[in-house]
């Protein structure tokens, strides 16, 4: 490993070195390109950081200055598009939403998210998440869902809105699916992202698709494969709380929820 952790007493020695005016950290980035080799190698890069530097920025620093070939997905850089989920120091996080300083570590290990097939390096394949999302019928089911020239809105009070608003914070980043213990072994499990969206539309007072969706989630790799491990909600960057959504949805199936 390139970095040597300097014991406290020797700190002065570091300060005198010319580059030490700026803090640097070491990024250990997992490199793999499956068609060429199925082995993950870690490469280390030293990057300068400031108090606001995010992990995404430091990866892009590497891409722009040290190694152009790093494969990484990103777009909005403000935690609203859901592109940049990856495993940072062992936990799934959004790279653009994680500051280096929060990690309190001089070595930062960056790997692709678990439970998604790797395309290359840090970029993973989302097909399963997207197709499962689609299976949840994530839209308003209601014969009147198309408007004509004199339609007004469905009435929905702020209280009605609060029943599902939180679940529509979901940016489809997949962090929850990558943290869930069932997802770790069950390749057919719907997963917290999809289940939370099934609840989001079911809880909407404009929707009439509850029966359909309950039937979809009530299958052998459906909602019952959630054991309320809560890891999904633990990692969700947007406060969606999929664990809550799933239990509320299950409440319907067990006959508690109305």
């Amino acid at each position: 490993m390139a970095t040597v952790t300097v014991p406290k007493e020797e700190k002065t020695a570091v300060v005198t070195s010319p580059e030490s005016t700026q803090k640097t950290v070491t990024l250990r980035i997992a490199r793999i390109n499956p068609p060429e080799s199925t082995e993950t190698k870690f490469e280390e890069f030293k990057v300068p950081v400031q108090k606001w530097t995010t992990v995404l920025e430091s990866i892009l620093y590497v891409k722009q200055n040290l190694d152009h070939s790093i494969a990484v997905r990103y777009s909005c850089r403000q935690a609203s598009c859901g592109s940049c989920g990856m495993k940072i120091n062992g936990k799934p996080r959004l790279a653009c939403y994680t500051k280096i300083s929060e990690l309190e570590s001089n070595v930062i290990t960056i790997e692709p998210m678990n439970n998604f097939p790797i395309i290359r390096d840090l970029a993973v394949n989302f097909e399963q998440l997207f197709s499962t999302h689609k299976k949840m019928k994530p839209f308003i089911i209601n014969e009147e869902s198309e408007v004509n020239s004199d339609t007004k809105e469905f009435i929905q009070t702020p209280q009605d809105l609060e029943k599902f608003l939180q679940f529509s914070y979901c940016i489809k980043c997949g962090l929850c699916n990558s943290a869930c213990p069932t997802m770790a072994t069950d390749t057919s499990f719907i997963g917290p992202q999809g289940l939370a969206q099934a609840y989001r539309y079911t809880a909407d007072n404009r929707d009439k698709g509850k029966k359909d969706r309950l039937k979809i989630v009530d299958q052998s790799h459906g909602i019952w494969r959630c054991h309320f491990a809560g890891s999904c909600s633990n990692v969700c960057p947007k406060g969606v709380d999929p664990a809550m959504a799933i239990q509320l949805l299950r409440g319907y199936l067990l006959g508690f929820g109305k």
């Binding site: 995010t54 494969a71 609203s80 500051k99 007004k152 809105e153 009605d160 809105l161 539309y201 404009r206």
Partner: protein, 570 residues
């Protein structure tokens, strides 16, 4: 042999405009094959970042009128907007808002359960329809989710489109690279809707997503379509340092102050009545004047800036009403706005210009439409009002989706496919770029290019700077940066980044040439050497056409229906 895919309707770009178009087309023609192609995963488009609102006249009973929205927009455009187009936008919007609502949009509600609206810069009625401060995000989600209803919409996630193929009159297809495998494809199809969004990343300091590069504009430009009014670039007053992420107008709407290094609320001098809430171009100009006259601050990164002070609003109000602002500044700048003022600076935020289209979004080539920020149907003229752009994306998404779908249903057999153009394109990108030789770091070139734009074609412009900028851009283009270090096929973003850079050069040139040509100050285009609006010579749209030697400039008349140009005062 190049791999080929056949579809009936192609939609390139999956922002608000692209997705709205897809739904409309699928509704009108449930049996045609529709492909939505995007270089990002479909729902990750830049549109998710829109914050403030979408303008629509929803409450005539409370005193709002269509005329008022039309006039506000005409005035906002500094009379360069085409008034028939503006009328169309305004009259179509109310039903768009209701349609989104019926598809599940979580609009914020009034206590009575009806849709909520808020005040926004440049409007004479609070008509910015909002869903907290994440309007674009929710709109994208609603449209993306509604697309899932239709089995004839197919998404091509992470396909980088490189060119548009036509035979001189009619559209034939496109070429694209599937990023996960690196395979080059042609798509043959009857119709195309371009919805590739804005290109704000040609500026180094920008609120845009990192993917908002001008590849779509450039594709159309290279294919012979005109780019219109590209010199009009909107600078939003408050981009936070160092990232450039937007601090919404709402922060000033709630009562935030802008301060210079003397601690003065300098807007008193520039807009005595509206102060910080004057229109965006006015506030941005005031800020740059302050900085130029030495009353700015220096940010830790060495950039000049001013302060946006929210402290007097109190922590509680900030948490309750501006949660996203607090989150952004805490997270990305390490500053709690309740304790410290935020460092801000005018930031590239919107492109009024785009691919030249008519009122229905049709381009100059049969079978090709353009919608959203990439298009210029002249609805925004010289300056866009906040909340009118998401509106534009929805309305022209719908219009182009409908017309293109009908066109597909009625169209005759396609013209013979000009395969030689595909071969040319393959040569251009693989021989010219992928296997190009060079030693200069393309990312440094990109940085340099965007900084030139920031320095020479920013809020204030003048002949010397613009000409100098054009010269620098052209010089930079001569450097040998067109090479791709990464030789792998799979998910090669190094390759796509260099292609994006390639397109930035051409579009930057168009912006600069338009700005040099337009010797007046109008809307967002403020020339210090020509400080006044000149309706005699420049009440016209700029059109720029591609040419192998030097771009060709033409003009296009402005449509005026009701409102003759008058002086614009706020």
């Amino acid at each position: 042999m190049v791999n080929s895919i056949e579809k009936d309707l192609l939609i390139v770009g999956s922002g608000l405009a692209g997705l709205r178009a897809a739904i409309q087309a699928a509704k009108v023609a449930p049996h045609i094959k529709i492909a939505v192609i995007s270089k990002l995963q479909v729902m990750r488009s830049h549109s998710v970042s829109a914050e403030g609102g979408t303008a629509a006249v929803l409450y005539p009973e409370d005193g709002d009128t269509i005329e008022s929205h039309v006039y506000d927009t005409v005035k906002g455009s500094d009379f360069l907007g085409d008034q028939d187009v503006i009328e169309k936008l305004v009259s179509e919007m109310p039903s768009e808002v209701y349609q989104l609502e019926h598809w599940g949009m979580p609009w914020s509600r009034r206590e009575d359960g009806r849709i909520g609206q808020r005040n926004f810069g440049g409007y004479s009625f609070p008509r910015a329809t909002f869903a907290q401060d994440k309007v674009g995000f929710y709109e994208m989600q609603t449209l993306y989710d509604t697309c899932q209803k239709f089995d004839n919409i197919e998404f091509f996630n992470e396909w980088f489109v490189t060119s548009i193929i036509h035979d001189g009159q009619r559209f034939c297809g496109i070429t694209a690279i599937e990023m996960s495998t690196g395979t080059f494809y042609t798509f043959k199809s009857k119709a195309l809707i371009i919805a590739t969004g804005g290109a704000g990343r040609v500026y180094s300091f920008s609120t845009y997503a990192l993917a908002s590069t001008p590849d779509g504009l450039d594709m159309a430009y290279r294919a012979g379509m005109a780019l219109k009014d590209m010199e009009f670039v909107q600078f939003h007053p408050t981009g936070i340092l160092p990232s450039g992420i937007l601090i919404t107008e709402g922060a000033r709407g709630e009562g935030g102050y802008l301060l210079n290094n003397k601690g003065e609320r300098f807007m008193k001098k520039y807009a005595p009545t509206k102060l910080e809430l004057a229109s965006r171009d006015v506030v941005s100009r005031a800020m740059i004047t302050e900085i130029n006259e030495g009353r700015g601050f220096k940010h830790d990164t060495g950039v000049d800036c001013l302060k946006l002070d929210l402290r007097h609003l109190g922590k509680e109000l900030i948490i309750r009403k501006l949660p996203a602002i607090r989150e952004i500044s805490l997270k990305f700048s390490g500053v709690d706005p309740a304790d410290e003022p935020i460092d801000v600076r005018p930031v590239c935020h919107y492109m009024m210009g785009g691919i030249h289209t008519n009122i229905d979004g049709a381009t100059e080539i049969q079978g090709i439409w353009a919608a959203g920020e990439v298009a210029c149907n002249s609805v925004h003229g010289a300056n866009r009002l906040g909340a009118n752009s998401t509106a534009e994306c929805l309305v022209w998404g719908k219009i182009t989706g409908e017309i293109a779908a009908k066109y597909v249903l009625e169209s005759t057999s396609p013209p013979p496919f000009p395969l030689h153009l595909v071969a040319n394109e393959e040569k251009r990108i693989y021989d010219g770029i992928f296997r190009g030789t060079g030693s200069v770091n393309p990312y440094e070139v990109r940085q340099e290019l965007t900084e030139i734009m920031n320095n020479k074609a920013y809020v204030y412009r003048n002949e010397t700077d613009l000409v100098e900028g054009l010269k620098l851009v052209r010089e930079l283009r001569q450097k040998t940066w067109k090479h791709v270090d990464d030789k792998a096929k799979e998910y090669n973003t190094n390759f796509t980044n260099v292609m994006e850079l390639d397109s930035m050069f051409r579009v930057a040139e168009v912006i600069l040439m338009g700005a040099i040509w337009r010797k007046e100050s109008r809307g967002a285009h403020a020339r210090t050497d020509y400080p006044d609006r000149d309706d005699k010579n420049f009440l016209a749209h700029t059109l720029v056409y591609y040419d192998t030697k030097e771009p060709i400039i033409k003009t296009h008349p402005v449509t005026i229906t009701k409102y003759k140009p008058v002086e614009r005062k706020y």
